[in-house]
Symmetry: C2
Subunit: 110 residues, 2 copies
DNA sequence: TTCTTTTATCGTAAATCTACGATTAATATT
DNA sequence: AATATTAATCGTAGATTTACGATAAAAGAA
């Protein structure tokens, strides 16, 4: 792999990180579960997924690292919920990047 | 790896596929270039990226496979442009999945 | 204290991704 | 026809991701 010798724009890195975090059906399913509850839920996530507990924990970690969910662990229980602010930030970044959408579209396109 | 024994919702697969396609700064940079031109551009993409031609071609292929860009190859030249319809579809799916955003947010959250 | 429950972490195997140089393919150009 | 240009494809090395079982940790219940 190339030694990351050149760069992209900051916004590009950020959007890539965000989309990478949700680029897996299991993680989207987790977000769905959290969104439906719209409150902190403790456990119950593993039950709704076709994955081993360790794997779900791993996915949760990924989502948390990306800032998409918030979680408070207290002893044997963990509570997770969606970090809506992060999603709003993403929405903004996404729209900024592709603001042309819904306005002008190329007519002379393939 | 588990033998994919269980599934997620169709919408979850689709959104995951979409986000996976743009989960890389190089591919977002490509989309940016295309969005700025807002018309078919032939080549010029490699020049704007810190990657080898083969790698860029690979990324273009990924974007095309995901349906995010359209491309017409004619001999030694290739023309690419953004498939805006796909982006609108994504926007829809994304908002569907997280429609709670901007409406009710959990007060009793972590 | 000992057991149970819940979840994170460790170690690891297999799959996928990312990058590259080299080559091939398809046209233009000379 | 021979050469040059442009971009796709091939083969491949190394990194990352994804999944799992096993284990550890943390706290409540017995």
């Amino acid at each position: 792999m190339k030694a990351e010798r050149a760069q992209y724009a900051k916004a590009e890195y950020e959007l890539a990180a965000f989309t990478k975090a949700i680029a897996h059906p299991a993680r989207i399913a987790i977000l769905n579960i959290l969104a439906k509850h719209n409150t902190c839920i403790c456990g119950q996530i593993v039950d709704g997924l076709p994955l081993a507990q360790a794997t779900v924990s791993q996915h949760l970690k990924a989502l948390k690292n990306a800032g998409l969910i918030k979680g408070s662990v207290s002893g044997p229980k963990s509570c997770y919920c969606i970090n809506w602010d992060a999603f709003e930030a993403f929405k903004l970044g996404f729209n900024q990047l592709f603001s042309q959408l819904n306005t002008a579209r190329a007519a002379n396109c393939c």
